[in-house]
């Protein structure tokens, strides 16, 4: 009880399906392991904090040669293939009882994970604070570095 809590600092910079899961999985688990957790959401990662942003999280078959059922690269450029690949992937995940991103984000918030939205990204992408979920803070590089300097684990995703 008297021992200091471990800390983990995560940067979430991407918003495709494969990159959206790790920040939330690791953050929620770390919180369950009694870590103090902070995630800094920057660039495309900022989408993960938008109220409706998780719907935009997709998998792009072009360049992704390791799909469970491979899609020929040339087929990947056909309009609509991104949505089809995303639906396929989400179905496989559902069958494997993988939790949805929405639920995982909710569980992270509930567990006390601190989420920081990058102010600069908000300016560049013209994102208003109202578009983001309520449970966040807004900050910049210094905010993250201050926390990360005391962290036991730091991850860039």
């Amino acid at each position: 009880m008297s021992e200091k809590k471990k800390k983990i600092a995560i940067i979430a910079s991407k918003a495709n399906l494969a990159d959206a899961y790790p920040p939330f999985i690791l953050a929620s688990t770390a919180a369950a392991m009694d870590y103090e957790v902070s995630i800094f959401f920057t660039f495309f990662g900022l989408n993960l904090l938008k109220k409706k942003g998780l719907k935009k999280v997709k998998i792009t078959p072009v360049g992704e040669t390791a799909m469970p059922k491979p899609i020929p690269q040339i087929v990947g450029i056909i309009p609509g293939m991104t949505d089809i690949a995303t639906t396929m992937m989400k179905n496989w995940m559902k069958k494997a009882n993988v939790v949805s991103l929405e639920e995982l984000r909710e569980l992270s918030i509930e567990a006390g994970v601190k989420m920081i939205a990058c102010q600069m990204t908000m300016d560049v992408m013209k994102v208003k604070k109202e578009e983001l979920i309520d449970e966040i803070e807004v900050g910049g590089a210094a905010t993250f570095l201050q926390f990360a300097s005391e962290a036991d684990i730091t991850l860039y995703i």
Partner: protein
């Protein structure tokens, strides 16, 4: 004499990483110190995950068994 009375049973069969750990953490918050919780899981990764979780949180893994792909963990809340 340690009392291994199960206070709560948590069924996480079928659930995948990281849900068994997240749900166990939630459930252990609900019980009192020195009470036990029994977790029933099917995720083979949970064997290592629960070991790591125990080491990190300091709770006690009283018993860990496996039978026909069903993993049972008896955990005592220590703090």
């Amino acid at each position: 004499m340690s009392e291994n009375k199960v206070t709560t049973t948590l069924d996480v069969k079928g659930l995948n990483c990281p849900l068994p750990i997240l749900k166990t953490k939630k459930a252990i918050n609900e019980i009192k110190i020195s009470e036990n919780i029994k977790v029933i899981a099917t995720d083979p990764g949970s064997v290592n995950d629960f070991q790591a979780w125990i080491e990190s949180t300091g709770h006690e893994l009283v018993e860990s068994t496996e039978e026909n792909g069903i993993f049972r963990y008896l955990i005592k809340k220590t703090k």
